[in-house]
Symmetry: C2
Subunit: 497 residues, 2 copies
């Protein structure tokens, strides 16, 4: 057996263990009774340690060195890319010593628990020491990884979520957006105020009718229930494995749009997973490219394809039928108006498409400053409020609506935030390219037929797995790398029309 | 760290991996869409290989030897028993070389597939070669394990399911029963024919009403839904882990008794798991004692406690309410008569309490003869039909109702069958002892109060884990080892009264 084949076998096992953990996580969020928590924590910890030990096995270095020398590999782009992705995972795993990993896990767990108490009270001071510990350990990890990857501390963390991502590029993009968005927002609010208020949709909307409608929409988009499930969880997510991809939602009896749009979002994630290259299941190169591309697929379905006049023409009659209702509020035009409303607010997860990037830019700038040690952590609340004021013109009344709102930092996920907006931009760019290549896509969507769109995404995005870098993928699919002008044009066009 | 502590850590990890596999199995039977099968097979195979490698690690022998010498262990009965159970698992795992394990897995998988085709056609000849291969490999395993455990080939296989079980003892018990049961059956059929036919229960019984009733009964028996679930699967089972124990059933809209009694049976298994010693979670000594004791707990609840006049007095009004029905068929007396009917039939899983042991004795005698090479496999159908005629006075019209009906042998589970009847006997013996110790148990059950019974079982069976051998457990709980006279007396008393 060649060194490369040995590596493939090891990563196959590693991946299957991670898949097992994924199913256990899904079960924990959807099925597990509360009394199962302790046993589950232990099962997941053992799977995680077992995977980690496989990855940092001292033989791995020799295997990588031998594989690099093996003939034929340079000519085989998939194997070559697989080796690159294996090595990236291995370098991330070996960069940190076991003590730091364990200390970080404990600090995050403890900080997250304190945060859960502190958030509703808006008590940043209460969580400051614990968050300080998490930040300190995250900076240690960043230092270690920066050395291994020969990059900045922030970029070393970003690479965990967005392989090859660069804060230099992000700075340029986000500075441009931060300049543009406040003007756009002001114009959109002006323009919106001149239109009649959309008519309210009167509930309650029975949960079983919401679920049936959601399933109908999922199938229209292309979700195959022989290869996946829809369930309920407190925080919606897309889990499972590519051939058994499991999405969740949460229903609100007063607002069916929330769950429906959430389901369409997760369906976008799910179809990406489903469409990953069949020949490379259980190998690193067969995985999704990164968080930005993943988010581009969910936002392409939710924001680009389904928050459109065409989709509403298809969906409105089905929604009327599902809830046995009718009237002026249920026209496609009114439904579209209802859920394209723009309104600056304090909470990221409730934000609309125009204000969402401001939330992300703020967090990105702050986390970068904290990781690069350019700002004391104690100043975070003040810097947050100031930044939000500049970007959205509003100031949180307290930290529960400010810097305490998201779990990410308190759970040690530094370097994640920018992928949300990079994904939104990529979604706009990919959807424009898809329509340019297949001009019938909008008319198809008006008929509830997503097959042409999904075929284009399948070929140009899903089936690529991690063969290409994110930049290469976008260049091959759309003719250019991530372009801020496309996103700006898209927002202006949608929200000023 | 002592060698013993190192072993405990290793077995803790091993157990957590097995628990993870258990959750994946549960999910596969209840939640997984068909398209997830291939990925799931891979996940389970990797978990299995990973566990096996941990167990057969060459360091284990030294650890066991060192642990045996460590001071203090002899005085600590739980740790001593834990070490004994660790060693038993390790000896089973190391007895077989990897090639035999792999060949057996493949042969079983292939044989099971052929059997699925052959069974409905009653085509024993079609599966004979594949079954021959499975038997050959099972005999090889039996030979290897017999050497390690210094026992007969059959006992080496039996030990996998019933630790310390002995075919010499089973021969004595089963010969006695085989002598007694045909007479009892004839008497019961006579006696039954002199009574009026029970009134039929007219369906259909809506599945949601059946489920609600099943949940009510589970809670009455003591099932805590914060530590478990009830779901649907094709083949009912009890899975999950002790603090998150998951039972399944299958509803038949024409016959609510089937699912209800099935649920009570699985609840007995579940409460055993739940009651295992809390201090020994994830250690071998904290596991259930074996299949016979496990089956004793399910049959104690289903057959001893719930197939009784007392339970029917409690259950009849709830059943009437659940299905919104009444009438003479729904009296406790008639319900009891309906589900205590005795009738010889070809299929084991549908058999009543009086004829069930005959099915088990037949299979035990045949599998022992085959493993000990005392009968050619080709003669199995003839020997089966002859044996069933002797024990039950009926002859299967074809092999689909005969030797092809059960999956066990075709899937490589040789040595399992006797545990069903050993469990039924232990159930009768334990229930008699419980009532002797706590005479109010029957009156409690008539009120739907199982707490006194469960407390007795908790102390005398559940909390013992694998501290004692099955014999010791029965002796301590009931004052004697497994006693065939108690079972005979119980059957005669219940079915001739």
């Amino acid at each position: 057996m060649t060194a490369y084949d040995t590596l493939q076998n090891r990563f196959r096992r590693l991946h299957a263990l991670n898949e097992a953990a994924g199913v256990l996580h899904w079960d924990m969020s959807t099925m597990m009774p509360s009394g199962g928590a302790q046993a589950r924590t232990e099962q997941l910890a053992v799977l995680s340690v077992t995977s980690h030990e496989l990855l940092v096995d001292p033989q791995m270095r020799d295997l990588f060195e031998a594989a690099e020398q093996e003939s034929g590999l340079q000519q085989d782009t998939w194997r070559q890319a697989n080796l690159r992705e294996m090595r990236r995972r291995w370098r991330h795993a070996t960069a940190l010593d076991a003590d730091l990993v364990e200390a970080t896990m404990k600090a995050c767990k403890s900080c997250e628990m304190i945060w859960r108490e502190a958030r509703p009270k808006g008590d940043f001071a209460a969580v400051l020491p614990a968050l300080g510990e998490v930040l300190k350990l995250s900076r240690e990890a960043a230092t270690a990884k920066a050395e291994v990857f020969d990059c900045s501390m922030y970029d070393a963390l970003l690479d965990q979520y967005e392989p090859g991502g660069s804060s230099e590029t992000i700075d340029d993009i986000f500075d441009d957006l931060a300049e543009f968005l406040p003007h756009l927002l002001s114009d959109v609010l002006d323009w919106q105020s001149q239109k009649p208020e959309p008519l309210a949709l009167e509930g309650p909307f029975p949960l079983d009718a919401q679920e049936a409608l959601a399933r109908e929409m999922m199938q229209a988009v292309g979700f195959n229930f022989e290869h996946g499930r829809l369930d309920v969880s407190l925080h919606p997510f897309c889990g499972g494995v590519p051939d058994d991809v499991r999405i969740t939602t949460r229903y609100d009896s007063d607002d069916f749009m929330k769950a429906l749009m959430g389901v369409l979002h997760e369906t976008g994630h799910a179809l990406y997973e489903r469409g990953l290259p069949q020949d490379w299941r259980l190998q690193p190169v067969g995985e999704a490219r990164g968080m930005a591309v993943h988010e581009s697929q969910s936002l392409l379905i939710e924001m680009q394809a389904c928050r459109s006049a065409e989709f509403m023409a298809f969906a409105a009659p089905l929604a009327r039928q599902a809830f046995g209702t009718e009237g002026a509020a249920w026209t496609p035009e009114n439904l579209l108006a209802v859920y394209n409303q723009v309104k600056p607010d304090f909470i990221r997860v409730d934000a609309d498409e125009v204000t969402y990037p401001a939330h992300v830019i703020l967090r990105y700038r702050l986390e970068k400053a904290l990781i690069e040690d350019e700002m004391p952590l104690a100043e975070l609340p003040e810097a947050w409020n100031e930044g939000l004021g500049e970007l959205l013109g509003i100031t949180p009344p307290d930290d529960s609506l400010g810097c305490l709102q998201d779990i990410h930092w308190f759970d040690g996920a530094w370097g994640y935030f920018p992928t949300y907006t990079l994904g939104a931009m990529a979604a706009a760019q990919l959807f424009a390219a898809a329509k340019a290549a297949e001009p019938d896509i909008p008319a198809d969507i008006a008929k509830g037929d997503f097959s042409r769109l999904m075929a284009w995404l399948g070929t140009n995005v899903h089936a690529k797995g991690s063969l290409l870098t994110t930049d290469e993928l976008l260049e091959q699919a759309t003719g250019k790398s991530l372009d801020v002008e496309i996103f700006k044009g898209y927002l202006a066009n949608r929200y000023l029309n």
